[in-house]
């Protein structure tokens, strides 16, 4: 029996835990602030959220070179954690800037909205930082629960509520599989700690044990659901379409990155001995995901929905990097995730600006003539579309080149052919947006652009990052490589 000991909180590196603390304290503060009356014009919630995100990112950056293992190895502070924590915080901050005006315009309760945003960011951070299946599971649930609510936040609208219900039911269903997978893994290895799983597998390779294999497969289902990999992707378009646009942007970037963070950590830390087992499966899933996502996106008329399919396709590209594995594959995945997050956030950010009040104008038709009516917005959207399509000199191009070259190096030529072909197909539908913006006359009732300074800042930030990483990719690349190093 274990002797009773006080958890050695004194020894905890508080900086390393700073993100978790800042985010949870921020969320609670927001809820408390709800009881303090404020003038209707104030945007106190957004301020507090930004501060919390800033504090979280600042605190992990403060000790970015440290390597800490907290709480009996459950919470790891390493380069990987730092990378994703900062990524999530910036994604969150951009989402806050985009929501700044949107939330008021669409009359969403901002206190709770921002509290949930912070909570789901916390969940994402936990997913990336956890070295134990328990905390990964809890982080995933924390993130998901907050997102279910955020998706259904416009509760007076049927589409939003329907999206929330579908997302919730399927998410819970997938969680069931994930949980069972964790149970089987626990049974097969006797631990839920990833490092210990790895040690166990290295000691006694029991590749044939069905518990281990089925457990691993179910784990794949759970993470596959979160990153929207085929055939676990079907919730994506509906949830993305129904959610408030800013939430869609946030979850398409953050939740996907978090899913991949967890997947990468699990695969690269715990399961390298089983590489030959999961590689073929993931290859098939990657090929399917790219193809289904891109092909289905072709005929969409709702841009939000189209981008949802596009995000599925991007999950496919990312899976190629995961399949490649190792230092190269991992850093390619990190690089691509960062790049993808901002171009996607940017695209949704532009969409969030369209429409007056709570109305949503996000069909291709609504975009007609936008390029002339608002040249900067049109230019930004064009850059995001080109970047998503992988046209130089945008970051999306650099991401794809790096990702595919890594994959070729890893000998995944068939997968690369599928991927490059898919990125050719994808340009068809990304271009439809540009064509609509620059080559079609606006309809009878041209869409109103709800400009707000904060949203403009968000557009500028995403645009700048998308272009900057296309022109100068070196910094991000080095960071991605350094970050993945800790896992191997």
């Amino acid at each position: 029996m274990m002797p009773f000991t006080m958890p050695s909180l004194i020894a905890v590196d508080w900086w390393a835990l700073g993100a978790v603390i800042a985010l949870s304290v921020g969320a609670m503060l927001l809820l408390v602030l709800e009881f303090v009356p404020a003038p209707p014009a104030s945007n106190r919630g957004a301020f507090v959220t930004l501060l919390a995100l800033l504090a979280a990112a600042g605190s992990v950056l403060e000790v970015r070179d440290a390597r800490r293992s907290l709480f009996d190895g459950m919470f790891l502070h390493d380069g990987f954690t730092v990378f994703f924590t900062v990524l999530f915080c910036v994604i969150g901050a951009v989402a806050v800037l985009q929501s700044w005006d949107y939330v008021k315009r669409t009359r969403i309760n901002h206190g709770e909205y921002y509290a949930l945003l912070l909570s789901s960011t916390l969940g994402m951070v936990l997913m990336a930082a956890s070295n134990d299946l328990i905390t990964i599971f809890l982080g995933l649930e924390l993130m998901s629960l907050a997102l279910y609510v955020l998706v259904g936040f416009r509760r007076t609208r049927l589409d939003s509520s329907e999206a929330a219900m579908k997302y919730f039911l399927l998410g819970a269903f997938a969680s069931g599989f994930l949980l069972y997978g964790i149970a089987l893994l626990y049974g097969a290895t006797g631990t839920t700690n990833l490092a210990k799983v790895a040690m166990f597998l290295a000691d006694s390779p029991m590749i044939g044990n069905p518990m281990l294999i089925v457990g691993g497969l179910l784990l794949l289902v759970g993470f596959g659901f979160k990153v929207a990999a085929v055939p676990f992707h079907m919730w994506t378009p509906d949830a993305y379409e129904g959610a408030p646009t800013t939430v869609t942007g946030y979850m398409s970037a953050g939740a996907k990155a978090a899913g991949f963070a967890a997947l990468l950590r699990v695969l690269l830390v715990a399961f390298p001995p089983l590489m030959s087992e999961w590689r073929p499966i993931l290859s098939w899933i990657a090929a399917l995901t790219m193809t289904v996502g891109n092909v289905t996106a072709l005929l969409q008329t709702n841009v939000k929905r189209m981008l949802a399919y596009s995000s599925i396709a991007h999950a496919g590209y990312l899976l190629v990097a995961v399949v490649a594995g190792g230092l190269d594959g991992g850093s390619a995945a990190l690089f691509y995730l960062a790049v993808y997050s901002f171009m996607n956030l940017g695209a949704f950010g532009v969409l969030a600006l369209l429409g007056r009040g709570a109305e949503e104008r996000v069909t291709i038709k609504d975009l007609a003539g936008l390029g002339f009516r608002s040249p900067m917005l049109g230019l930004a959207m064009t850059v995001f579309m080109l970047s998503l399509g992988g046209v130089p000199p945008t970051s999306g191009f650099m991401g794809k080149v790096y990702l595919f070259s890594v994959a070729v190096k890893a000998g995944l030529i068939p997968l690369v052919i599928v991927g490059v072909l898919n990125s050719v197909v994808s340009v068809f539908y990304y271009l439809r947006v540009t064509v609509a913006m620059y080559m079609q006359e606006p309809g009878a009732e041209p869409v109103e652009i709800a400009w707000a300074p904060s949203a403009a800042i968000a557009v500028v930030i995403t645009l700048a990052l998308t272009l900057w990483w296309g022109v100068q990719a070196q910094d991000l690349l080095t960071t991605a490589q350094r970050s993945i190093l800790g896992l191997l």
Binding site: I134, V149, S161, E162, M165, L169, G176, R305
Partner: protein, 103 residues
């Protein structure tokens, strides 16, 4: 009481319950019953955890169950709220009558 039930039996039982839960999700149209089926899946997982915990002689599995229950409780709160809200707007909780978003 001293000799244990074989692990395999417990696992078989838990797998059966899990699959019953999966089938429930697939065959029912009432969102609430679907949700109940998901609860069955979670509980099957819990059973597996406890069984493993016993077989391995470690407490981790039982602690995990504790966390799963918390998660399940949280999920139920949010999930029921969402389902109730859909019912308010649409007057139905049959999932095959709710497909505004599709394609």
């Amino acid at each position: 009481m001293m000799h244990d039930i074989p692990l395999a039996w417990m696992l078989a039982l838990s797998a059966t319950v899990f699959v019953i839960g999966v089938v429930g999700v697939l065959v029912r149209r009432n969102a609430l019953v679907i949700f109940m089926s998901i609860e069955l899946m979670l509980n099957a997982g819990n059973l597996a955890f406890v069984a493993f915990s016993r077989a391995l002689g470690s407490l981790d599995g039982q602690v995990f169950v504790f966390f799963v229950m918390t998660v399940a409780a949280a999920e139920v709160a949010v999930g029921l709220a969402i389902i109730v809200n859909v019912f308010r707007l649409k007057e139905t909780i049959y999932v095959d009558e709710i497909n505004l978003l599709k394609g």
